[in-house]
Symmetry: C2
Subunit: 351 residues, 2 copies
DNA sequence: GTTTAGCACTCTTCATCTCCGAGTGCTAAG
DNA sequence: CTTAGCACTCGGAGATGAAGAGTGCTAAAC
């Protein structure tokens, strides 16, 4: 495999990404950094096509990269520019700080990505599953009306209103919260099961029958915690790129087919996957650029962009890269702080 | 204006809604309830066109209703079927119960609408603006970490984590919540202003400087309450109807231009507005079917469907109608219950 | 006077055809 | 090994024509 052929392949991909049109030998020969004639390029192009890196939409058209062509380009040929500080700053502002709840953090990341790339952004957060319940509160707010507050070690907070058949006395409330804390504090979200809640309903009902809606409420909240794993933002952006099949896109936006498995199964580091390489996530001609972020050294979710296969990888990969790093940093840095450590020490605070 | 002409106009609209193709005299003459020949219909169609109710895409095509045609059809000609009980039940299940928070209620309504009509659904909720703060809680959850809980009379609950510079003593926390309750309880969301919070920050800081982030947090939450006014669900559905301009739709999904004003300004009762009648909300050939729901007799928001002009009005209007009634009922019925009435009386509850 | 049948007319749609040009592959010369 | 030149191919744009749907108008029928 020729040095020059690689250079030409890279030039073709760049050009195709830029224009969206099949690119011919003449166009390449005109580029500054290419010093051979169109005829030479034609020969190399024929060779590249033979090898499966290029294809022709029809006989007398220019060449278009194949999956293999993109693969080679992405894995070997492409030179990634460093993200300028101004862009970094922009992301930093959009993301939030160490105090921002994790959930919001990754939502912000998705919003930033879709805004800056004009593609769809996708984020998952497996953190909630591994986090543990750190606090459950039940707060009376009206006649027979209570708000349940569920807080986890990773900073997600869920609430829900709950109506009971009777008002609770102070002691009853005390009993309930004490019981719940005893049974749930420190339990990881993943461990929470229906059986567990069934048992709790039984136990609580033995004390007072009308407490069971509260347990049910908590059970529903924990369901929420487990579910909020995959978010797709800016899906409609995909509809304006005409490389993609509209029907497939609409279907995908509705069910997010296969995406969750694909993300779950990914390795660490930035990865690019093509829709057509993969049959579960099946938007033809699409490309998925993902990376996993970490929290305290452990993989905690992934974040990426979905676009047409001819997206500007040189631009998007640095974005995704920077964001995962930043998120990993923001999450890990304050890790021990967000863990519940019991009620704050009662030692004043005035300077 | 002839009785027969009206009948023919209605038939044309029905047929056009059904097929999406311009409808000719022959097609109408074949309908069961029409007993005149195609030639007669042709004459009437010519007259209707003269009067501005119909138009021809081109000389030798069938007729298509104009705005005026639809207007007349909707206002006078259309016969609305009663919604069958099975459908009603379906809606009831999708909506929720009297215990469902209002916010969720209308979100459910939008979800139900978009699912059943295959159009976009839009809901607004001006209720939060008119509701009053019924409870503010500050709950310690970790080292210098507090969760603020804001509850309003209409059942919305907002929370937010807040990091302080120092931990608060029990007395400090007590002081703060007491101060906040004193100043905010019963205040309507609309009345909340930046100046108010500025004053509170000043007052609170005088006691202890590091309390101000909490006030800021509350201020942000109240901002949330005010903002969550307009939701569009299923916007992508509009992209699959080819009567609508894709570009306009994408733009609209992004900014929801003019919609809020339009809904705000609407009268009560079901209304149908066409995109082209209105220049602020400007998707050509679109139709907006809205109705205002009430809470305790007062208009509290609106709910509706956006679709192509040739949507099945006979189907959708009963949907929207039923939903507004049901929501009005669900919201009003439990109104006094959701109002805060102080902590529940401490009089036990076991049967 | 209103309704209907018949007919000529119009205009879109679809298929077919032709021409143009971009881009190629091949060959032969540098 | 590279380049110039040239014949070749094929898709896209525009032109042409037949088919079909639907109309408007006229004259006859009710």
């Amino acid at each position: 495999m020729d040095e020059r052929k690689l250079k030409i392949l890279a030039a073709i991909v760049d050009e195709y990404v830029r224009t969206g049109e099949p690119v011919g030998s003449k166009a390449i020969s005109k580029l500054e950094h290419i010093n051979v004639s169109a005829a030479t390029i034609r020969n190399d192009m024929a060779a590249l096509e033979q090898m499966g890196y290029l294809e022709q939409p029809h006989t007398s058209a220019g060449r278009v990269p194949t999956f293999m062509g993109y693969r080679l380009y992405i894995d070997e040929l492409m030179t990634l520019p460093e993200l300028p500080d101004s862009e970094k700053k922009r992301f930093d502002e959009m993301l939030g700080s160490k105090d921002t709840p994790e959930e919001l953090l990754i939502q912000n990341a998705a919003a930033a990505l879709t805004e800056l790339t004009h593609c769809a952004a996708v984020v998952t957060n497996s953190a909630p599953r591994f986090s543990v319940i750190s606090k459950v509160e039940v707060i009376p707010t009206g006649k027979r009306l209570y708000v349940i507050l569920l807080i986890t070690s990773n900073g997600s907070i869920k609430n829900k209103a709950c109506r009971l058949e009777f008002d609770l006395s102070h002691e009853q409330l005390e009993f309930f919260t004490h019981y719940i804390e005893e049974n749930l504090n420190g339990v990881s979200v993943e461990e929470l099961s229906e059986e567990m809640f069934d048992k709790m309903v039984a136990a609580v009902s033995a004390y007072m029958i009308s407490l069971s809606p509260l347990v049910k409420g908590i059970s529903e909240l924990s369901e929420d915690l487990r579910q909020q794993e995959l978010t797709l933002k800016g899906g409609e952006k995909l509809l304006s790129c005409d490389d993609l099949d509209k029907m497939e896109v609409v279907k995908f936006i509705e069910n997010k087919n296969g995406l969750s498995d694909l993300l779950e199964g990914a390795f660490s580091g930035i990865q690019v996957k093509f829709g057509s390489e993969n049959d579960s996530f099946a938007i033809g001609n699409s490309s998925l650029i993902v990376s996993k972020y970490r929290k305290g050294g452990k993989e905690a979710g992934s974040l990426g962009v979905i676009g047409p296969m001819r997206v500007d990888y040189k631009k998007i990969i640095p974005y995704v890269d920077y964001l995962t790093q930043k998120i990993s940093y923001l999450m890990s840095g304050s890790e021990d702080d967000t863990l519940i450590t019991g009620p704050p020490a009662d030692n004043g605070g005035q300077p």
